[in-house]
């Protein structure tokens, strides 16, 4: 097989995987929230309601598509794809597993291992902002505009702490490539602890996680679409599949963020004390590493859901205050400390 064919297969596979995670997440979110609230949740479509997302999808596909008269038509149409394309594309640099050897060919389980790694993710999430702000602005409804503005301000505010947290990681590992970072996290340090970013950078992890919640617009940071104030925020005027793209895009974002968290702070596909490659065959090792990664990712996805149904949401100024007055200074301090420690240990 030619390289580009393998690449194509990988691309298709991972794209589908991203979509699948998003789809299943909608189900998980509904069922899990129901379980936390002493309810049952959707259970009529398919076994355990597993086909619920499919039903929703069909419904959304066959729904009428309204473009409000006062909306700016082109911008209105551009909004959802501008949001969804970056969201889907971020998966491209996430390492889903180590490598798999098929027919003597070594295939890394990642679309592409580029040397700028997660900067790519940062850049794309910076573009995703436009999807919301343009969608909100184009709708020409006050709720949407306010939602869009809030979304943008929130997203860009929390990009800084996230960037700072990542900066410390870069400082520690000296690379941008997610794959290399994961590789460096194998093994243990200080004898007992796994060599995970989490243990080396607990503060950085917390900052990153909080910023991730904000980036994903999840409770407690779901102000852009907070129901009780702005109806549904920036996508108030959107229906049919355009809405579907916004909703899916959000879940895809969740998947990416969880994956990045795992790769940066939790050792990616590796198990803490066990070296799987020693006793597994080349193919089964690839699959096993993929599974390990998925389990870790699933945990963080669940955490997203879990937190959402537990806490109230912030007010806008508090959200900004938390970002600018708490997280950024914390991030800077963390940066200093890490720099100092690295300086002292080399």
């Amino acid at each position: 097989m030619a390289d580009w064919q393998i690449d194509l297969i990988k691309v298709v596979f991972i794209w589908t995987w991203a979509l699948l995670i998003a789809v299943v997440m909608t189900w998980v979110e509904r069922r899990a929230s129901a379980m936390m609230q002493d309810r049952v949740g959707p259970n009529r479509a398919g076994p355990f309601g597993l086909l619920q997302p499919l039903a929703d999808g069909i419904k959304l596909f066959t729904k009428e598509d309204i473009i409000p008269k006062r909306a700016r038509k082109i911008l209105f149409i551009l909004g959802p794809p501008l949001f969804a394309i970056p969201a889907f594309s971020t998966y491209a640099v996430v390492p889903f597993g180590d490598k798999i050897v098929i027919g003597g060919k070594e295939i890394i389980l990642q679309v592409s291992d580029v040397n700028i790694g997660f900067l790519y993710i940062l850049a794309l999430s910076a573009i995703a902002v436009y999807g919301m702000v343009i969608g909100g602005w184009a709708s020409n409804s006050k709720y949407s505009i306010l939602g869009g503005l809030r979304a943008t301000a929130q997203l860009i505010s929390y990009e800084i702490p996230m960037g700072l947290a990542l900066l410390t990681i870069v400082l520690l590992y000296g690379t941008f490539s997610l794959r290399e970072i994961v590789l460096q996290q194998q093994g243990t340090f200080l004898g007992v602890l796994p060599n995970w970013g989490f243990f080396k950078q607990p503060l950085g992890f917390i900052i990153f996680l909080v910023a991730a919640y904000a980036e994903a617009n999840r409770v407690p940071f779901d102000l852009p679409e907070c129901e009780s104030e702005l109806v549904t925020g920036y996508h108030t005027e959107y229906g049919s599949m355009r809405l579907g793209l916004y909703l899916f895009g959000e879940y895809v974002n969740l998947g990416t963020l969880a994956a990045v968290t795992v790769s940066l702070f939790f050792g990616g596909w590796g198990l803490p004390y066990i070296d799987m490659s020693k006793f597994l065959g080349p193919i089964s090792y690839g699959i096993a590493s993929f599974l390990v990664f998925f389990v870790k990712q699933a945990f963080f996805l669940f955490l997203f859901v879990w937190v959402r149904w537990t806490v109230p949401r912030f007010r806008y100024d508090q959200l900004m205050g938390l970002g600018w007055k708490a997280l950024i200074p914390l991030g800077l301090i963390n940066l200093f400390i890490t720099a100092l420690l690295v300086q002292l240990t080399v």
Binding site: L75, L119, A123, I127, T152, E159, G174
Partner: protein, 165 residues
């Protein structure tokens, strides 16, 4: 010629034309966004992945967001900019001048290739770490000056924007 360059060059030029001809500021900003993305793709081609990424995350992600915010802040729909320009000649003059400039530049630049020294590119050319090293070794003063520049800009912007009129 390779298609990669052609595609993105056309994209950049087309979006650039859209940017300067769009009726409204917001579509114009979207055009600029496309230019940025196209240029970023070209940077990738030019062994400057870091610059490409930063192009997107700074130009597209920050500067343009600022512009978009200001567009939302300032433009009210009842204020159409479509009021006819008083002297059309001014506008045409501008266009002609610009076009002339393009022609001049293109002609002037034509022979530039002879002036270039083609060196083989080292393997890790464009790797982020190289820029880091340069920042430390050669441009340390510039680097610190940049921070001061940013500080000044920050203070000025806040001062201006918060000023009560």
């Amino acid at each position: 010629m390779d298609y990669y360059f052609i595609i993105f060059a056309i994209m950049a030029v087309g979006a650039g034309i859209f940017t300067i001809t769009a009726k409204d500021a917001l579509p114009s900003a979207l055009g600029l966004l496309t230019v940025f993305v196209a240029l970023a793709a070209l940077y990738l081609h030019l062994h400057a992945p870091l610059i490409a990424i930063f192009q997107i995350s700074i130009y597209a992600g920050a500067i343009l967001v600022l512009v978009v915010f200001v567009i939302m802040l300032l433009i009210t729909p009842d204020e159409k900019l479509g009021t006819p320009q008083k002297n059309i000649s001014y506008r045409t003059l501008g266009a002609i001048l610009g076009a002339y400039l393009i022609v001049l530049l293109v002609i002037g630049i034509k022979g530039i290739e002879q002036l270039m020294v083609h060196r083989g590119l080292p393997d890790d050319f464009g790797h982020p770490s190289q820029i880091g090293t340069l920042f430390f070794k050669k441009y340390i003063l510039h680097f610190e000056m940049a921070s001061v520049l940013l500080l000044v800009a920050l203070i000025a912007a806040i001062y201006l924007a918060k000023k009560k009129v």
